[in-house]
């Protein structure tokens, strides 16, 4: 029982950065922009988040630093890919390379330092309930925030007019422009939201997951978040399922090694990507028409004036 609880807790913790980063990327991609720089924005968020918390002693300010850093990174992307209409794939990849280098520079002074990790909720009585108490009422603020975030995004996309307009930009930017919507401005906000989420997801790692900073500590989580958006076929509900599934796979991989199960760990690390490929194939086979992905995803838009 203890073990099950421990596993569930570690799955939640491992899934949370994936969920936050993928939520941001989902909004970005729903507006028609493919930002492959999630890994780069995350790692800069991790470095700045740790730095902010270490300098001020506040986890909250550290998280804010992470958010701001991710947003600034995404603004570089927005300037290139939206403002100058550069190829989005190339720009996103460049952003990741930039981020990995930049985070090493920013974080160089913090390597080896330790923080007190983010506090976990404790409600007397509730948190003490065996098995589910700690899972439901004993998490850190990031976990609860990530769930609120994805619900908020779902509500925004499907229940508000602004969300409808954002989805419209992702479906057909020419039509959206013809109806008078400022496609590039809307996309810039979507990219910034994606950057803020990636920065926060990155900051989660040194602030709550492991209370220290090491270069390259995102370890491909940005790429998993990207795969997750595709896995979820751009739907918030499926994104939650996918995030916990992918988080579980990464934890399972550790435990499998510990138990001496004969599955190579490389295979387990590849599972999220394999699952994404399989889901893509299944979706395209099941499709009767229309398109699962935002139809304008990754295409350059230059408005005529």
């Amino acid at each position: 029982m203890e073990l099950v609880e421990a596993i569930v807790l570690s799955v939640l913790a491992a899934s949370t950065p994936l969920l936050i980063a993928a939520t941001g990327e989902l909004v970005t991609e729903r507006s028609g922009v493919l930002n492959l720089g999630v890994e780069g924005m995350m790692i800069v968020g991790a470095a700045c988040g740790f730095g902010g918390a270490w300098l001020t002693g506040s986890i909250f300010i550290g998280a804010l630093f992470g958010i701001v850093a991710g947003t600034l990174m995404s603004l570089i992307f927005a300037l290139m890919a939206l403002g100058l209409a550069v190829n989005q794939v190339a720009t996103g990849l460049a952003l990741t390379i930039l981020g990995v280098g930049l985070s090493g520079l920013i974080g160089a002074g913090f390597v080896g330092e330790r923080l007190t990790p983010a506090a976990q909720l404790y409600i007397p009585g509730l948190t003490d309930i065996p098995l589910i108490g700690r899972v439901l009422f004993g998490e850190d603020a990031f976990v609860y925030f990530s769930i609120a975030l994805i619900i908020g995004v779902w509500w925004f996309l499907y229940r508000t007019r602004a969300g409808l307009i954002l989805r419209a930009c992702g479906d057909n930017h020419v039509s959206a422009h013809a109806l008078g919507y400022p496609v590039l401005r809307i996309r810039t906000f979507a990219v910034m939201f994606g950057g803020a989420c990636a920065g926060l997801a990155g900051a989660y790692l040194p602030l709550a997951y492991t209370p220290f900073f090491i270069p390259g500590m995102t370890a491909g989580r940005g790429w998993i978040a990207l795969a997750l958006v595709v896995f979820a076929s751009w739907r918030p509900g499926r994104l939650v399922v996918g995030a916990y599934l992918f988080g579980a796979v990464t934890i399972l991989q550790l435990h499998a090694q510990g138990w001496g199960v004969g599955i190579p760990s490389q295979f387990m690390s590849a599972l999220p990507y394999l699952a994404t490929v399989i889901v893509l194939v299944l979706l395209s086979r099941a499709r009767t028409g229309g398109s699962t992905a935002p139809a304008a995803l990754g295409t350059v838009f230059v408005p005529d004036r």
């Binding site: 007019r161 409808l164 307009i165 989805r167 419209a168 479906d171 057909n172 020419v174 039509s175 959206a176 013809a178 109806l179 008078g180 919507y181 499709r287 009767t288 028409g289 229309g290 398109s291 935002p294 139809a295 005529d304 004036r305």
Partner: protein, 523 residues
């Protein structure tokens, strides 16, 4: 008779919309050169002109999509500067786009909501949508996603969306280009009703007969300038065309002495499952095309014309070689190149991306279809001189206008590129030419050149198959016309039998006589 400007009829009042010296400059290019136009209530006002005459630029400026470089727009007597389409809509200016501004993966209701200012709740809006669509006889299911709908239904969304803003002034950009004659007639009823309600309509069209029938006033643009405002009912189609082109349009003439001999293209009971999720299944298509003959295939887009083209060109292969016979040789299983070697040539509908590789030079594009049968390849190496010669010859023969000798395909205007593509194939002296929408989106001058080229090719003994949605075009050049509907091809009618009414019925899926229907089922 000329210039009975309607202003005299409205003396004393001010027009609903007036542009004064409206000018739009792109670099050195004057898209609109000080255009004055008056639009009055209770009026359907036609805007005529060839492609590139400046019609789209003018309506975009009126709708606030672009800012004019100079000149003024007056709305109900007051000068306005539109900040964007949202302001135009709020003032009562609505627009129905030629290339629909719809979102395929959103529902009808969501699409309509996006065209409105969002001041009412989605639920109220949906209710009003059903009311408006019922009132004007434009039925729509608000919950369906757009990709599931036909072209006619899509246009209904655009019109309903515009009507829901209760516009005083509605702009329609070539609304009938994609409709069957019957659908067009239904649209005209709606437009007449809107006019009777006191609204004004600006109606852009290439179809002059339609303009004469429907419109009270016509303004003609040419090369960015206003040529004239006139009453289209007092003009002939020929005189309107003259004003648009600025000279006589070359009359298309069929050469006498066509020799109808052996069949050069035969299709036998061709049935082919679609290769895409929402493709059309071809069902038992049979026809025979002799040398010297032009067969026209009419039909609303999306009824299997693309699939038929793919099956004829070899982009899709048939398991049964006998379904497509070119020059007496069973070719259903042969690749595109092998079919070309048999003497067939193909011109697809899509000019950029299908007919040509947009970013490649014309000479390279000539090579792409001509490599098998036209001696442009020498021991595996490209004979650059030969490819350039093809470009020069096509340029000369078909009057292709371009900036330099061998530009990228994408840099040519639609009409000139189409002349090049058709020319490229015709210069190979094909025995069989299959051409899809030869003059779609091409201006009247280029269209005349292309139609004449097709007639000349047939007169020289080739078999020509033309798919087109333009019934006037088919009437002009085809000897026989068949109609595609839901993947089936009707029996061809001779040009004299093929009235608009008959073709329209066939395009809508009805059969002409019960007897023929029974025959079709039996077959």
């Amino acid at each position: 008779m000329l210039d009975p400007t309607p202003n005299g009829l409205h003396s004393g009042e001010s027009p609903l919309l007036r542009t004064v010296g409206l000018t739009k400059r792109y670099g050195d290019f004057l898209a609109n050169d000080s255009i004055d136009i008056d639009i009055w209530p209770n009026e359907i006002h036609a805007l005529l002109g060839e492609n590139g005459a400046g019609k789209s630029t003018l309506v975009k400026a009126i709708y606030g999509l672009i800012q004019p470089s100079a000149g003024e727009i007056h709305w109900q007597g007051e000068r306005i500067v539109l900040s964007g389409p949202a302001e135009a809509r709020s003032r009562g200016i609505g627009m129905v786009f030629q290339h629909f501004s719809l979102f395929d993966n959103l529902t009808v209701a969501e699409n309509v909501a996006l065209g409105l200012d969002g001041k009412e709740s989605f639920k109220d809006m949906s209710a009003r949508l059903e009311l408006v669509s019922k009132t004007y006889g434009l039925p729509l299911d608000p919950r369906r996603e757009v990709w599931q709908l036909s072209v006619g239904e899509r246009q209904r969304i655009e019109i309903v969306r515009a009507l829901m803003q209760d516009p005083k002034f509605l702009i329609l950009d070539e609304p009938t280009a994609v409709l069957t004659p019957q659908e067009a007639d239904q649209l005209f009823v709606v437009l007449e009703r809107l006019k009777a309600e006191g609204r004004a309509i600006l109606y852009i069209s290439h179809k002059l007969e339609e303009v004469k029938r429907l419109c009270d006033t016509a303004t003609i643009l040419r090369g960015g300038q206003k040529v004239q405002t006139c009453n289209p009912r007092l003009e002939t189609a020929a005189s309107l065309a003259r004003m648009m082109v600025g000279g006589e349009i070359r009359e298309v003439k069929s050469a006498a002495g066509r020799h109808t001999t052996i069949p050069r293209l035969v299709v036998n009971d061709l049935t082919l499952a679609p290769d895409e999720a929402h493709g059309v299944r071809l069902e038992h298509i049979s026809f025979e095309l002799k040398g010297g003959e032009i067969l026209g295939i009419a039909g609303v887009a999306g009824n299997g014309q693309d699939e038929l083209f793919a099956a004829l060109s070899g982009e899709r292969l048939s398991k049964d070689p006998g379904t497509v016979v070119i020059e007496g040789i069973a070719a259903g299983h042969l690749s595109i190149t092998k079919r070309r070697k048999l003497g067939a040539a193909f011109v697809p509908e899509e000019r950029l991306g299908h007919g040509t590789a947009p970013r490649m030079k014309l000479s390279e594009n000539a090579l792409l279809t001509g490599h098998a049968a036209s001696g442009m390849v020498n021991h595996g190496f490209i004979d650059t001189a030969a490819t350039l010669k093809t470009v020069d010859k096509a340029t000369e023969t078909f009057d292709v206008r371009k900036a330099k000798r061998d530009p990228e395909a994408a840099s040519l205007s639609g009409g000139n590129l189409q002349k090049f593509i058709v020319g490229r194939e015709i210069l190979r002296n094909p025995a069989v030419l299959v051409v899809s929408q030869p003059t779609w989106g091409v201006d009247a001058g280029a269209a005349a050149v292309i139609r004449q080229a097709l007639l000349d090719l047939a007169a020289s003994g080739a078999a020509v198959l033309v798919t087109s949605q333009d019934l006037d075009e088919l009437a002009e050049i085809a000897d026989r016309i068949a109609v595609m509907f839901h993947g089936r091809l009707s029996a061809p009618l001779t040009a004299s039998e093929a009235t608009r009414e008959k073709l329209g019925l066939l395009m809508g899926g009805s059969s002409l006589e019960p007897k023929e229907a029974a025959h079709a089922v039996g077959a």
